[in-house]
């Protein structure tokens, strides 16, 4: 009996001490057990504790609306050259119809920012890379325009620039001969702003796109993903995209 009581006490004591320690760590001003993604200083590197993601609600995405596509083109300086088959395309609207039920979906598709991106696997120069915070990018300084990544991407998310580009946005350098794709508006994210497509969708009143940190349990996107069923396109490939779709 006494041995049991002692054991219970010691266990209780241990729990109490752990709780106090945890509480102390969390209550100390400015110190958290897990650093929550907040505004990042310009001199601070992207953190691997963050996983940026998008959640697209297909029930709210309006058929025929392409505000996100237009906003993307304006923000990133993508102009139509009159050759739609070869123009770069960072985001596109896809209309889906279930033939049995007749239910239609309209969904924007862009780079899915995979955790295991095939474009990075195949790149011979290391130009295609994944940033610490999960954004998949092309370093144009090392891209040789071989287009392996275009072939490898199961989402058709990458394009090559065939024409000379002029009047670029100073924040978004783009040029002929390099492969490119959705950057999740990385230049905006680094300044604590939302991607242009998400902003445009909210402005149009649809609110079909939510951007945020999937690793931050307090963020709207993480809470929605935890609460409602959402799917990743071609989840069977096990690439774990950061872009998720609700209602597909």
């Amino acid at each position: 009996m006494s041995a049991d009581a002692n054991e219970a006490l010691s266990r209780r004591g241990f729990l109490a001490i752990s709780a106090a320690t945890l509480g102390g760590v969390m209550l100390a001003p400015g110190i958290r057990l897990i650093e929550i993604a907040g505004a990042r200083a310009p001199e601070q590197a992207a953190s691997k504790q963050v996983r940026w993601g998008l959640l697209i609600d297909t029930n709210k995405c309006a058929t025929g609306c392409d505000d996100c596509v237009k906003a993307c083109a304006t923000e990133n300086g993508i102009k139509q050259s009159g050759h739609p088959r070869t123009d770069p395309q960072w985001i596109r609207k896809i209309e889906l119809k279930d033939l049995r039920s007749g239910r239609t979906h309209s969904v924007p598709v862009m780079c899915q920012h995979c955790e295991h991106p095939p474009c990075v696997d195949v790149c011979p120069t290391g130009a295609s890379f994944k940033r610490a915070d999960g954004i998949v990018l092309v370093d144009r300084h090392t891209c040789i325009g071989c287009r392996y990544c275009i072939m490898a991407c199961p989402y058709k998310a990458r394009s090559i620039v065939f024409q000379d580009v002029t009047e670029q946005n100073p924040d978004v350098p783009r040029g002929k001969g390099c492969v490119e794709g959705c950057t999740l508006c990385v230049h905006r994210i680094d300044r604590d702003r939302q991607p242009a497509c998400v902003e445009a969708c909210a402005k149009a009143g649809h609110n079909a796109m939510i951007f945020g940190d999937l690793n931050d349990a307090q963020s709207e996107i993480a809470q929605r993903v935890a609460k409602y069923a959402s799917t990743q396109i071609r989840a069977d490939l096990k690439l774990n995209p950061g872009v998720r779709y609700q209602g597909l």
């Binding site: 310009p42 601070q44 915070d133 300084h141 946005n169 783009r174 300044r191």
Partner: protein, 125 residues
């Protein structure tokens, strides 16, 4: 002595030759217009010699790590050095191009990067 006189003439000619060559101006000098002098992030000598390395270092930090400090960023160079008339760092009197033309060094930054600063009334910074 006629020999000494001849030597003196040669010496004078030899001294005058470089000056004569400059007067001919076979190579046009770069036109360096600096609207806001004394505000560069490094000393002029450092910038002249090391600006490619500084830019390369900054570019890797920005692209791969998302570090967007202003010092040594190409965008900030363009912001400050764009010609007041053309609004660009390119062109005959452009800060970057006139010097690169003189030195015979290919300037390929602006195949992708904007050669003009962002307009104040345009998109937000």
């Amino acid at each position: 002595m006629p020999l000494r006189g001849l030597l003196r003439l040669f010496a004078c000619l030899a001294l005058a030759l470089p000056a004569l060559a400059f007067a001919a101006e076979r190579t046009p000098k770069p036109i360096i217009i600096i609207d806001k002098p004394g505000r560069c992030v490094e000393a002029t000598e450092t910038m002249r010699r090391e600006h490619p390395d500084l830019l390369k270092h900054q570019r890797d930090l920005t692209v791969h790590e998302g570090i967007r400090t202003h010092k040594h960023s190409l965008k900030e160079c363009v912001q400050c050095h764009a010609n007041a008339n053309t609004g660009s760092v390119l062109g005959e009197k452009g800060f970057c191009q006139s010097c690169h033309d003189y030195a015979g060094v290919k300037l390929d930054c602006f195949g992708c990067h904007a050669s003009k600063p962002k307009l104040a009334g345009g998109a937000k910074p």
